[in-house]
């Protein structure tokens, strides 16, 4: 039997570097999931380093018949679940002091993304080390770039802009009832608050494009995510004791449209529309119910009436 080939250190290093660089780039992709603090950076890059190491070592280890090293991959899953927990807890704690809450659905979505990015890093590191080992160092540079672009493309979620149109809408009062377009939002009892809302309020209506979109917009978590992002970018004209300026999104039960008013520092509708369109569709909210409904109906037709 031939002796096992030596461990390919160069392929390992290429994979490791590719993975860490990919993790760094992914930290910057999306302003909403950007850790705002140097410590957040450090912890994510460190985890990214571990993920890259695990991914990069797989192939060289297998080639040199170091099977025990390969089994370490199994540890990765447990390791990275912790990241999800870490993000969930951190954002959950921040929630108490947010003027506009992200909501549990959004937090869960962000936490999952952070976990998944480490698996993507492992994948990129693994691909790079395989290619570097088989076809030389230069291809080990091209491959991770290609793998990176592919994963970023595949892992990019859908956004509100795909399922709904964002239209400006008139903010008005019917007695104390705040309305945007035809949608009643809330009862504001103080004259002074009503004046501020009329003056600084920016109203918008989201029109769902398909029946599925209508169901997605009905999801409370999805609506909260939209409000959070809008408030983050445009800046709320609100403090903890001015409850009346807390944005709410309500739906028109007839049309499925969702309307909201935000009292903001920067009343720029174009920015608002852009922000809303870029809000990710949450996993918990995405609906394929219309499709399901059709299938059940077809089944019902096939089976005919039942006793």
């Amino acid at each position: 039997m031939n002796p096992a080939p030596a461990f390919d250190v160069r392929a390992f290093v290429v994979g490791l570097a590719a993975g860490v660089i990919a993790r760094y780039l992914m930290l910057r992709i999306d302003y909403r999931q950007y850790p705002g603090y140097p410590h957040g950076y450090v912890s994510h890059i460190t985890h990214g380093f571990l993920a890259a190491g695990l991914g990069a070592i797989a192939w060289p280890a297998l080639i040199s018949k170091e099977l025990s090293a390969f089994t370490f991959l199994a540890l990765a899953a447990t390791q990275f679940r912790d990241i999800r927990r870490m993000e969930r807890e951190a954002l959950g704690l921040q929630e108490q002091t947010e003027l506009v809450k992200r909501g549990v659905d959004y937090i869960e979505g962000i936490a999952k993304v952070f976990e998944a990015r480490n698996y993507l890093v492992m994948f990129i590191a693994a691909v790079s080390s395989v290619v570097a080992h088989q076809w030389g160092l230069l291809s080990g540079v091209i491959a991770p770039a290609a793998a990176y672009l592919a994963t970023v493309h595949l892992a990019r979620g859908r956004q509100i802009g795909r399922i709904a149109r964002v239209k400006p809408a008139k903010v008005s009062f019917d007695g104390p009832l705040l309305k945007v377009g035809n949608i009643g939002l809330m009862n504001i009892g103080l004259e002074a608050d009503r004046k501020v809302v009329l003056e600084h309020g920016l109203g918008a209506v989201l029109q769902p494009i398909t029946p599925d979109a209508r169901r997605t917009l009905a999801d409370v978590g999805q609506r909260q995510a939209i409000l959070h992002d809008v408030a983050t970018v445009l800046g709320l004209r609100k403090d903890v004791d001015t409850v009346a300026f807390t944005p709410l999104a309500r739906r028109d039960l007839e049309t499925g449209e969702v309307g909201f008013v935000v009292v903001v520092e920067e009343p720029d509708f174009e920015v608002l529309a852009e922000v809303v369109r870029a809000v990710p569709l949450l996993e918990s909210a995405r609906s394929r119910a219309a499709h399901l409904l059709q299938r059940v109906r077809r089944q019902g037709e096939r089976l005919g009436p039942r006793p």
Binding site: G175, N187, D193, D241, V243, A244
Partner: protein, 62 residues
């Protein structure tokens, strides 16, 4: 911080006969006074003022 949510914390009314029950009721003479009292309470309690449109305002923390 303990907090009572989705319950009526206080009532500001011009018609005390139309409100009863175990909660703080502030009786005022006119709309201007109602707005003033309700405004102060709103800031103190971090609560939202709702207008029942019968001369009565209620404060609720959501």
């Amino acid at each position: 911080m303990p907090s009572i949510e989705n319950a009526i914390l206080a009532v500001v009314t011009q018609h005390p006969k139309e409100v009863s029950g175990g909660l703080p009721v502030f009786i005022v003479q006119d709309d201007a006074a109602a707005q003033r009292v309700a405004g102060s309470l709103s800031h103190i309690l971090d609560a939202m003022v709702h207008d029942l449109q019968n001369g009565t305002l209620i404060l609720v923390r959501h």
